[in-house]
Assembly symmetry: C2
Homo-oligomer: 208 residues x 2
DNA sequence: CCACACATCTTGACAGCGTCAAAATAAGAC
DNA sequence: GTCTTATTTTGACGCTGTCAAGATGTGTGG
C-alpha cells in the first residue's frame, strides 16, 4: 500500500525511521509467506526495510519475540474468521460446523507458513512463546472446548465422550489434516473439501 | 554398546576410521533424540565421533542426506512395531485397531524428535526426501489405505466413506494428536490413552 | 615388493546466521 | 542551548553448512 516514507510523513511525531516496528512486522510477514520461517533472517529483514542488521533489536528482544509478534497477528486474523462463521444464524448447526472445519483447513492451506508459525514447534516446543502470544493462543483452545460442549448439548456430537478429550481429538484431526497438507505429505489441496466432509461425517451425528 | 575402536578391530577390513558411516548414523540418532533436529549440527556430530568437520561429507552428500538416512531407520523401526501389532490373531479387530492407534501415538511420544524428522516439514516440505527414503515412506501410507479398506469390508469402519478420504482423515487424526503432543500444544502425555479411546470410539462402529 | 590409483580424511576458507558491546546520531525536555 | 534519552550503526564473536585443495592411508596390478 503506502511506503514507509508516507507513513513517516503521516505519523510525523516519530524518530529516525518513522515507525520501524510496524515496518519490520509488515516486511517480516511478507518474507514469511514468501520463504517460510527458515527463510526469514533478521539480517535480510533489516536489509529489506533499509536499516542496519541490529536495528530490529531495539524493537524486538530477539528473533523469537519477532516471530511471536507475527504469530499474534495470525491469531487475530484467524479469530475474526472464526467468529464470522460461528455468528451465522441462517444455517444449520451441522452446516456451521462443516464451514468451521473447512475454513480452518482453508486458512492453513492459504497461509501455510503463518499456520506453521502459529501452531508449529518453532514457538511452542521449548516454551518460547511470549506472554502476549499466550494470552491470545490459549483462549483459542479454551473456546474450542466450550464449543465442543455446546455441540454435545445440541446433540451434534456424542454426549458420551468426555468434552475435553473430544475437543482434543476433533482439533487434533483438523490440525493433522492441516499439517499433512502444508507439509506436502500424502494429501493434496484439491481434496480438502472431500476430506472435510468425510471428517464431519465421522464427528457429527445425523440429525434426528 | 561397543565403541568405535572395538568395531574397527572387529571389522578390520576397513579404512581409517573403521566404518564412519554407521558410527555417524549412530551418533546422529543419539544427538537427535537428545537435542532435536535443530540441535543436530554436522560439526558437533563430527566432533563427537572424533573426525574432522568435513569427514561426514564422504559418506553423506549433505546434511539432508544424513537426515533422510536417519529417518529411514525410524520408518524401519516403526514398521516392525506395526507389523507385530497387526499380526496378532487372538484379539478382536476393534482391539487391534485400538492398539495400532495407541501404539502410533506412543511411538511419537517416546521418539518425538525422530517422529518430527520422519513426518515433519524439514524433509517433506521442499521435496528433499531421498529416493531411498521415499521407497520406504510412500508404501507406509499405501498400507494405511489398504488397511482402511479391509476395516471397511469387515464392518469396522463406515463403508459409505471413500476409502482414500477415510484413510487420510484417520491418519490425519493420529498425526495431529501426535503433533499436538510432541510440540507441547494443549495436550499432555498423561491423556494419551483417553484420547486414543475417544478417537477409536468415533471411528469404529460398535460390533453388531 | 613396489608403485600407482583410489578411497578416505584433514586443513583452510567463505558466506551466512543470531546477537552482544560500544560508538554515533537524532529527537524531545528543560 | 544544553542534556538526557531513544534510536541506529559499526565492529566483533562464535556458530552453522559446504566447497576446494592437500595429506594420508589402503588395496591392486605389475
Amino acid at each position: 500500500m503506502q511506503n514507509t516514507t508516507s507513513k513517516k510523513a503521516t505519523i510525523k511525531g516519530s524518530y529516525h525511521h518513522g515507525d520501524l516496528r510496524s515496518s519490520l512486522l509488515e516486511a517480516a510477514k511478507a518474507m514469511l509467506s514468501e520463504s517460510g520461517i527458515e527463510g526469514l533472517s533478521l539480517r535480510k529483514l533489516a536489509d529489506r526495510v533499509g536499516v542496519s542488521r541490529t536495528a530490529p533489536y531495539h524493537h524486538f528482544k530477539d528473533k523469537n519475540e519477532l516471530l511471536c509478534a507475527i504469530a499474534q497477528e495470525g491469531f487475530d486474523h484467524w479469530h475474526s474468521n472464526a467468529e464470522r462463521i460461528l455468528a451465522q444464524t441462517d444455517i444449520s448447526n451441522r452446516e456451521k460446523y462443516h464451514q468451521f472445519f473447512q475454513s480452518y483447513i482453508g486458512y492453513a492451506a492459504e497461509n501455510p507458513e503463518m499456520y506453521d508459525l502459529m501452531f508449529g514447534r518453532t514457538i511452542w516446543k521449548q516454551n518460547s512463546a511470549t506472554k502476549d502470544l499466550r494470552a491470545i493462543a490459549y483462549p483459542s483452545f479454551q473456546r474450542q472446548v466450550e464449543m465442543t460442549k455446546k455441540w454435545q448439548e445440541q446433540g451434534l456430537m456424542s454426549p458420551q465422550e468426555d468434552t475435553l478429550r473430544l475437543a482434543q481429538v476433533t482439533w487434533g484431526t483438523m490440525h493433522g489434516i492441516a499439517r499433512l497438507l502444508i507439509d506436502g505429505i500424502y494429501a493434496d489441496r484439491s481434496h480438502i473439501e472431500e476430506m472435510c466432509t468425510c471428517a464431519v461425517n465421522l464427528f457429527i451425528r445425523e440429525p434426528d
